[in-house]
Each structure stands twice: as structure tokens, then as C-alpha cells.
Amino acid sequence: MTTTLNAPPAAKPRLTLSQRLNHADAKYSPYVYVAPFFVLFGLVGLFPLVYTFVVSLNDWDLLKGQGDWVGFDNYIIELQDPWFWNSLGNTFSIFLLSAIPQLIGATFIAAILDQNLRAQTFWRLSVLLPYVVTPAAVALIFSSIFSEDYGLVNNILGSFGIDPVLWKHDTLPGHLAIATMVNWRWTGYNALILLAAMQAVPTDIYESAALDGAGAFRRFFSITLPSIRPTFIFVLITATIGGLQIFTEPKLFDATRATPGGAYHQFETTTLYIWNMAFNQDRFGRASAIAFILLIIIVLIGLVNYYLSKGIASSETKIAKRSAARRLLRYRSRKSIPFVAENQLERRP
């Protein structure tokens, strides 16, 4: 006690080296643990993004490198470029043609897999099989199937006396053929994600619905679909991002042609247009500008999706709470009738 009192008041007890290290450890090591991700993200995520933006502000030639600083001229040129809008139209057309049937198909496949099937694992794995095949191989196979003069589809159509469809020449058939490739590859993948969500739906809701006399279809539409809505929106967002970035399928669909995306650019998607602008026309600045515009479009669509899903999710929980309360009330009241009756019976003399 006396020694403490005698000590000079200003001198705090000196920390030993190990104490200081301990202190630093507690304070800084969490940052070291998370650093690899941020370093990696900075290197491969943020840097290219910023660099692309810088390139897009210059009259950058692929071979000759940085040219004059042109500000936002590249953006203005692109927004007035008919080929840019053509590519955007193609992208959305192929996206809609693939996303809609894909999600409907995936939902129903998931619903079927959600039943008590024999050899469940086998069926679940087999829907994922197309996803394992590389897009390049898919594109090559489908481009033969949809070949105009010698392809499988036109041969089959021909045997029914139907005129051959010009898959690589007409716009809509081309979009359909490419959407088919996308669907073939992604339907099973989405089905598995939706299946996981379906399996998380509590079974007692189904049981009570069944007790209420709801048939299988009613149960699917009134319970399964509303319950998996958040997952469904997640699948929708990933499908949107993937759909707006589609590249390999249209690139390889008509692989022998030097102009990417068909003779008249009729299935040239925006990413293909970026590629063509950068590597065929050497206009790196303009290509970067298109890439940035595409990024903004994707972010905008992502935001819309986010707010939609937030709105739906919150109203959904409200509805769910309300309907659960109602159901509970109904259940209790129904249960209480015979209970009361029983009591009454008992009370009866």
C-alpha cells in the first residue's frame, strides 16, 4: 500500500513487451485476418473497375495505348450508337426468352424433386448435369443442332414437311436458339436452389392445409410459392446478372463468322459488342465506356430487384403473420368447439 502511494503519479505502470504485443494482437490481428479478402478484392475487383473507368475517359487504342483525354465523349458516342442499342435490345430479348421459361421450368422441376421420389439423389444430381458441361461445349453442340442446312432440328422439321428455320440468319429464331442453350444449362442449377428453399418450408403448414382440404395444386400455389419467394427473388437477380452478361453462347453459336453475333449482328449481345469494339476495332476507350454503361444498367436493375424484394419480403412477413394468426385462431376455435361440447356433455346430467 505504501509503495503505491509513494510512486510518482505521472508514471503509469510500464507495460512489458509481451503485454504490449498482446494489446496489439487484440487490436490489430482481426484486420490481418480479414485483409487477404480486401487485398484480393482491391487487386482483382476494385482496380480493374477504376482502371476501366479511366480508360473510358480516353481515346484509348488497343495497340497504341492511351490517346487523348476525351472526358465523357465515349459515353455520348455510345448512347447515340445504333449498334449499341441493337446489342442492348438483343441482350434483353435473349434474357427474357431464357429467364422466363427457365424460372418456370426450374420451379416445377424443384416441385417434382421435392416429392418423395425413389433414388432422390440420382434425380437431383442429374438435373445439375448440364451445368457441369462447359458453355463452350454446349454452344458447339447446339450450334450443330441448329445448323441451317444440315442441323438436327431442321431435319426433324423437314420430315414433317415444315420449311427449315434460318436459325443463324433470322433474329427471333437466333434468339430462341441461344435462349435454349442458356436454359439447358441453367434450369437444373436454379431448380436445385429452389428445391433447397422448398425443403425449408415447415411441413406442418402443409399438413394443416391438407387437413383444411387443400389439394396438391392449391398447396403448391398458396404455400410453396409464397414461402420460397425470397429465394425466388435471389434466383431472379442472379439470372438477371447472368442474362445481361451472356457472351459464350452467342459468340460460339456462329463461330466461323468473323463478325461476332451473326452476320447482321442479330444476336450480338452487349458483352459481345464490347468484345468486338475492343478486339476487332481496337477502340478500347469506347469498349470501356460500354462496359461501364452495362455496369450501371445491371446495378440499376439490381437496385429495383432489391427494393422489390424488400417490399415483398416485409409485406410477406406481415401477411404471413396475419394469416398465421388467423389460422391459429380458426384452429383454436375449431378445436374448442368439440372441447366445449364435450364439457357440455359432461356437465349434462
Binding site: 495505348g65 444440315y150 481496337d282
Partner: protein, 438 residues
Amino acid sequence: MNFSRRTAAVAAIAGTASLALVLSGCASDGDNGGSSDEPITLTITTFGTMGLDGLYAQYEKDHPNITIKATNIDTGGNALTDWKTKQASGGLPDVQAVEEGWLGSVMEVSDTFTDLRDYGADDIKGNWVDWKVQQATDSDGRIIGYGTDIGPEGLCYNGKLFEAAGLPSDRDAVAELFGGSSATWDKFFEVGKQYHDASGKAFYDQSGFLWNAFVNQQDEGYYTADGELNVEGNSTLKNFWLQLADAQQAGLSANQAQWDWGKGQAFVDGTFSVFVCPGWMLGVVKGNTEAAGGDASTGWDFADVFPGGASNWGGSFLTVPTSSKHPKEAAALAEWLTAAQQQVAAFQAAGTFPSNIEAQSDPGVTGPNDLGAFFNDAPVGEILGSRAQGVTAQFKGPDDAIIQEQVFGPPRTALDAGEADGETTWNQAIELLNQLVG
């Protein structure tokens, strides 16, 4: 607490180590060789069927200190993308093959290629046909590439189909039929109509290759010799375009997919009967026919004639990018690969006709070979030598490849499909030209 401190240290060390790994990863494979005895690895990138693959082992055997790491890219188009990407970002090989069609782009950045005169190009430039050396010389007089093959064009034709249509099938008689040494495109289309009337079939596969041949044989193509765009208002080109439209109207074009031909099927089933053939194309015809199950009996032959006179399509150069760490050794390799004996070997392997004068008359080129056997025993080397007479270099502008493929490609497809007439499609081309090149 001791335990935690150790983990922190381990984490810090691991973090630094992995960062160091990342940083050193790029530098670790560089070998700073100086003297010629040190082991040296030379990288080389080629494309398509250049016929060089068999030669590397020989060179390694003669130069024990040199290891060759070769990359061959399947098509010229993919190779062009590969080159452009690496030109922009670094990572070019020691020896880079470039194609004649890219020369416009290459010459824009010719200072990034080693001037081969520093390694004795002046002493040996007489080995090649002079226009080939001229092509590889930039505006400052630097020689940036050694010529490999050239692409003199002859006519491939299907003797059996000709015979069936009542035309001569013998290769000399066919050459005469098209007008021999004074063959013209008018005569070509005239024979085509004759063939179509007799057989009811299309004459050529699609008009793109004819257009290409025509443009290439003009003194000035899409650009004038002093580098001005030369398309709009070019009556020579437009007249030929209208001629192609007429021929399509008359049913001469089979409207085939370029470079596909139904996976070669159209070469076997008689869909068309003539085909423009630079030397390297002979291998393509053979390959496609065989891919579709055909062989020499399918009837393809090769005639010593070409409409409109001499025409060259394609041909490549071996260059040494300045980024090479061993420019001296790389230049020596490029020189050896393009020397007479090696060009003869490449011709025998792939049908690429030598640009080396001595090799052109070598018995290995002029004599019989496998390729000739497929073409009804045609003396292909001799014919190509004769077709090479009078070929000259045409100035290729920076956007030559875009004009060829993206400006004239779509209207040409519309033309072949019979969707629009010559005048409309020509205007489409001019519109595209103004959008894409300008």
C-alpha cells in the same frame, strides 16, 4: 495469451509470404541469359496450319542450349485477338507469327518489333520474293519480319461435276475454258452460267472469297497506296459487286456458311464445283472433304488459271517483338525457320507455298506429294509457282480487316441469301463503312 501471440505471428508471416509469392510470381520465370552457351528458352506463337511444328525438334538438336516452347492457335482470327491482347498487355513471345491481313495494324506499332537488319536481314533479303520483303518493311525502312509462305491463287474445281455438266474436266482444258493466261471474271461468270444451265446447281460456295480475291488483285484495295480510304465511289469495286449480284440472281452462289460448309458436307455432295484456292487453302479443301467422309475420288482438282490474273491471298511473317529477352537468338530462329529447306518442309506438311525463291523451285515443292495426290495428282507446287508470277504487294490500311469482314460481310450475306439486290447491298456496305470506319 502466449498461444494467441504465436498465432498472430504465424498469420503475419503467412500473410507476408503469400503476398511475396504473388509479387514474385511474375518475375520467377525470367531467365536473363546473355552468352550463347547458356540454356535459353524461346517461345514462338504460330497459327492455323503453318507446317512449322515438325521443325522445332531439329533446331533444338542443332542448338543444344535452346529449348523451344511453341504455341499454335487454331485460326488466324483467334491468333489476331491473341496477338492484340498481348500487344496491349505484354506477354508477347520471342517469335510471333503475323498474317498479311493484319499488317495494317502491325505497321501502326512497328516500333515494338525488332528491326531484323540489326541481325543481318539486309544480307539475306534477296532470298525472298521482293514484294514479300517490301510488305515487311515499315515506313522508316525497318524490316520487321521474315516471310514464311505466300498465297498465290489458282482455281480448285470438281472434275466429276464439270464432266457431268458437259464441261471439260482435264486440268489444262479447264484452264483454257476459263481463258488461260488472259482469264477474266466475265469469262468466269459466263462459264458459271453455262455450268448452272447444264446441271441446275450452284457454281461457287459463296461470294465472299471471290470478292476477297478480286479486291486483293487490284493495285489498290480498300486503301490507296498513300493510305487514303478507297471504297466509296470506287467504281471498280462497285462494278464487281454488281457482277456478284447478277451471278447470285442467276443461281451461281450456293450461299454456304463461310469456313463451315456444313462441316465439309458441301465439298462432298456436289453443292458447288469451283473454289478459289491459295496454296494454304488446298489443305483446307482436303481437310473438309475428308471430314465429311470424302477422299480423292470426290473429284477435286487444281487448275493453273485465275480470273483477272495473278492474285495473292494471305501469307505470314515471323517477327521478333522488342519485348523478347533474347532478340539475337529469336532472330536466328526466325531466320532458320524461313530458310529454303524449312519452307520446303512446311510446304510438304501443309501446302503453304514458299516465299523463298530458292524453295519455290525445289524438287520438294515442284515434285509430286500427298497434297497433289488428293487433287487428282495435280503438280500443285508447280502450278502455285506459276500462279505466283506477277503478284505484287498491296497496301493494307489499319482497318483493312474490319472493312473486309464487318463492312462487306453483312451485305455479302444478304446478297448471297437473295434478300436484296446489288445496289441496295452496296449502299448498306457504304453505310456500315461510315459507321465503323471513320
